[in-house]
């Protein structure tokens, strides 16, 4: 099979496929099905400077061709992750991207500052969908100015490459991408979930309000990847409803240099290894020497 290796921020990854943050637990949970080293990089569950309990249930709800989650960023905190889990990835020579968040700018900075550079840390992925509790709960990723500031400040406390993960709930994702780039982001992940709600007609309840993921998100994500990849020179990691190899290829063609797979793993726990294999086969069948041959080739 062809060469799937990619360089990301001067680190080599076996392939351009990662899990999406929050959809592969702390990593170890999948080991009875497939080895973590299958991944190009493991993206951590969203971590914060201090542990968080998350939301009460229901936390997940099925939607036609998608799902809504309201996990509420439950996590054991960045310190425990590095004590208890990080050695596992190092032992398995699996690069890690550390997804992190905060409810205030200070929390973002505190968390980023705690993470020490390491040969197996490819990047920090900064979740900008998080509500800013000092600004009435409006999330950090909404205004170009605010994005510029927080990215710049985080860059000031870490030497690790920084990827900004953007929310689609903005007026124009291209201007947010540009602001992140100008703030110093080394890459972008597009996109996080889209806010949504369910009405249960029988019980006359709104059982859940949360983030929409899965196939439903794909056309929205593809648009974001395409438009942002034309507007900024930094690498883009695509995410949103990638269920199979064809979906993955479409993200590369739209301009993504790597992809993340989330909800698909819940539907088929082998989705990630299958898609990695599928990408290899696609490249072989089309005489490509690497993923670079198809990144961003789709014409409008």
């Amino acid at each position: 099979m062809g060469n799937l290796t990619v360089e990301f921020f001067e680190k080599t990854m076996r392939n351009p496929v990662m899990n999406a943050s929050g959809t592969l637990g702390y990593g170890k949970e999948i080991e009875s099905l497939w080895g973590i080293e299958t991944l190009g990089a493991y993206v951590t569950k969203g971590l914060s400077a201090e542990p968080h309990h998350g939301n009460p249930t229901p936390r997940v709800w099925e939607e036609r061709n998608g799902m809504i989650n309201s996990i509420g960023l439950q996590n054991i905190g960045v310190d425990r992750f590095f004590d208890e889990y990080f050695p596992y990835f190092k032992k398995r020579k699996t690069p890690v991207i550390v997804n992190f968040f905060g409810f205030t700018e200070e929390e973002y900075l505190a968390c980023a500052a705690k993470i020490k550079p390491d040969p197996f840390i490819v990047a920090l992925e900064m979740n900008l969908s998080c509500p800013n509790i000092k600004k009435g709960g409006i999330s950090f990723g909404k205004e170009p100015g605010a994005v510029f500031e927080i990215v710049k400040h985080v860059k000031g406390v870490t030497k690790i490459p920084l990827v900004a993960k953007l929310t689609p709930e903005v007026r124009n994702i291209v201007e947010i991408a540009q602001a992140a780039h100008e703030g110093g982001a080394d890459g972008l992940t597009l996109i996080n979930t889209m806010p949504a709600a369910v009405v249960d007609v029988k019980s006359r309840n709104i059982p859940i309000r949360g983030g929409l993921s899965g196939p439903i998100l794909k056309p929205i994500a593809l648009r974001a990847v395409y438009e942002c990849s034309k507007a900024v020179p930094i690498p883009i990691i695509g995410a949103g409803g990638i269920m199979n190899t064809e979906d993955a290829i479409s993200f590369f063609m739209a301009g993504a240099r790597a992809i993340q797979i989330g909800t698909a793993t819940f539907v088929d726990p082998y989705a990630i290894p299958k898609i990695i294999r599928g990408i290899g086969e696609y490249l072989d069948a089309h005489g490509c020497s690497g993923i670079g041959d198809i990144v961003g080739i789709a014409r409008d």
């Binding site: 999948i30 998350g54 036609r64 989650n69 054991i76 819940f266 539907v267 082998y270």
Partner: protein
Amino acid sequence: MDDIEATIIQNKHIVSNYYTLKLRLSKSMGRVLPGQFVMLKIPGNEVFLRRPFSIYAYSNNTLTLMYRVVGKGTEILSKCPKNERTLVLGPLGNAFHIRKTDKYIVVAGGIGIAGVHTLIKRLGKKASIFYGCTNKEELSLINDMLHLNPMVSTLDGSCGFEGNVIALLGGYIESTKGEDRQIFVCGPAGMVRNLQKLIEKDRTPCQALVEERMACGLGLCFGCVIKTIDEKEPYKRACKEGPVFDLWEILL
């Protein structure tokens, strides 16, 4: 544990909206413990996520589930013909822990019987079984346990004790006071809460199999949590740290 190809060999209506589903697996599931469950792919592509079901019985690569039609997924499942193929991810979750004791008491309500079925088979005559359901007809769900002399209650009084099974259990708990007992429970949340109240004073050892909405069943998504008394980390995953929890450690 693995995601295993399976073929429906029987999909049988029992009574009202209850069914049993027999699947032939293409390979062994390995060792199955009482209380464990599987994530079943619902054939077709009408529903998206898998559905969790307790392992009702398993031997020789044949898996049996007992299910109740409650929504879209189980509705579609109830119409699946023989020979339809699907996928079964499992066995998943922890298990009931059977500690040596004088008296085993198994309490189940409605479809909750599916969650304790392998446990009852394991305990055999050593268990006192309490089963609550709606009416006489639903007692056919425990047809294969009648030789174990289960105590039954029906809401309509059409057979056994009239009322809920916890009320029925009350007398027994009273009469066995002081003995070393161990309770296993699986049923609707209301029933488990009533049990908690009933045995609150003595805090009788009790393990509960809980149901929560799940996306992955593998501990990946943190969608299926249940609140516990652990203040540092209150939310535990029903699919990973559960589905069996110590009744005195969970907050229902």
